[in-house]
């Protein structure tokens, strides 16, 4: 779990993680909001159903896939927060596959 430091970075952007409202600093990502909200998991794996939270925060691992403003399978660590953004964990959904 992560904690904010309002002194250097005031929390000014309100977002919703699950149903809970939360303020985070400008420039944060949806994945940061999930970590700050203290969610136990952002998704469960489609294969074994194990819980995951962000691992790399830089777009490499795809462990942060979440539903953002109604769109599933978004890389939450690559999405900058906007006022009113809704970030929901996704359960079991298989992520979009790329290669044939």
């Amino acid at each position: 779990m992560f904690a904010q430091r309002p002194d250097p970075r005031p929390a000014t952007v309100e977002v919703f993680v699950g149903d809970a409202a939360l303020r985070v600093p400008e420039g944060s990502t949806a994945a940061a909001a999930v970590m700050l909200a203290g969610l136990p998991a952002i998704r469960e794996t489609p294969v074994n159903g194990s819980p995951r939270l962000p691992y790399c925060m830089m777009g490499i691992c795809f462990d942060c896939l979440a539903e953002i403003d109604g769109v599933a399978n978004r890389q939450a660590c690559m999405v900058t927060v906007r006022p009113g953004m809704r970030i929901a964990p996704q359960h079991g959904a298989r992520a979009a596959r790329m290669s044939a």
């Binding site: 992560f2 904690a3 420039g27 074994n48 939270l53 777009g59 660590c77 290669s99």
Partner: protein, 462 residues
Amino acid sequence: MTDLAIIGAGPAGLAAAIEAASLGLSVTVIDEQPAPGGQIFRNVERASSDPALAGEYGSDGAALVRRFRAAIQAGGIDYRASTTLWHLDTVGGVLSLRGESGTGSLVAQRVLLATGAQERPVPIPGWTLPNVLTAGAAQILLKQAGAVPRGRTVLAGQGPLLWLLADQLAKAGATPALLLETTPRGALRQALPAGLAGAGFWRGRAMLAKGATLMAASRRAGMRVISHVTGLRAEGEGRLQRITWDGGGSTEADTLLLHEGVIPSTHVSRALGLPHQWDETQLCWRPEVDAWGATPNPLLAVAGDGAGIGGWQAATATGALAALDAACRLGRLPEHARDSRAVPHRHLLRRMLALRPFLDRLYAPAPGVLAPADDDTIVCRCEEVTAGQVRAAAALGATGPNQAKAYLRTGMGPCQGRMCGTTVAAVIAQARGIPIAEAGALRPRAPFKPITVGELADLPAG
């Protein structure tokens, strides 16, 4: 149409853009981040005054980004933030981009990949548990959101970035409780000759001094250090609760931050079919480039950590060199002028690389980091494939990661093998008794990042 398209607004891409624009080239800079700075100077325009990030980030980083903004003002640079390169037609020089307002394309006469590095995967048992992150991830949370891990934080692994993070967290009021350092006994003695050769220690003395200061500071702040740790395991029910290691070591933890150095992000350069070499010293793949960053492909160059790990200052030098070469190739700069302008950049590059051979040897990842010994350890996080399964596939005839993909789906999940590719190659190489270079690198395909059918449909025809 742009003269030079630069992918990546990190130190390499920023230096390249500033140099190229000053030579009169039209430049387009594309980066998926919302602001310039790359990995090291991420979000620096908002966070440079955070006392926890004082030092290189707050001073040099902020200055570099200011120079880039000034160059944009002066004209010649089209900077596209929050934009991802997801396909590149290397014949026509057509870049397929996705930005906040949808997809689009751009034609460039030359393309510079300045896509940087990623952290080396650290596949230990339990590394997929919630609250196990990379050290870089914690640093990103600090830079982006000013956030710090709460509770008992343990760092594990090795390398300069780990000590830097420890110091930054300490300054942010969240000193890690413990560092489990994995550098083996005797590594320092073995690395010494590489530091003495070519006066590496002397030329890299400022860097050495900085490292020593960081180490002393985090210890002073109260971080305990246990050295020569092997057999790391993360354990817990549904989340990290405990870390154990060989010799009966065990500690409770709320957050575990792993780090075994950084490796070039070669996803895009491999997908483009560029030739890559296995670097025996840095133990990673790197694209083949000449002294200007040019690849064998007439359109493409690579600069910065994406071409081999050298750190941010080396990245600015290779970025500038690639820009000079682009101007020369496009007929805007005679060869002799390119060569003479290159001199200060080559000088900086040599100075910045002086300490690398020593650091690369000192912090070489243990064989168990490259290829986990424990059969139950997950190597492919997406498809939850274990080291044992990869070894079984090797026994059945998989000769490299491209074949393993057909047996196990490793590399077919959403990350397209960014996390598992190197580990799968190392496990197969070990099982078959062949060099990693022979097992080969995964050959990913475009799109480089997932793109929806709707976005594809939005593209203009032709």
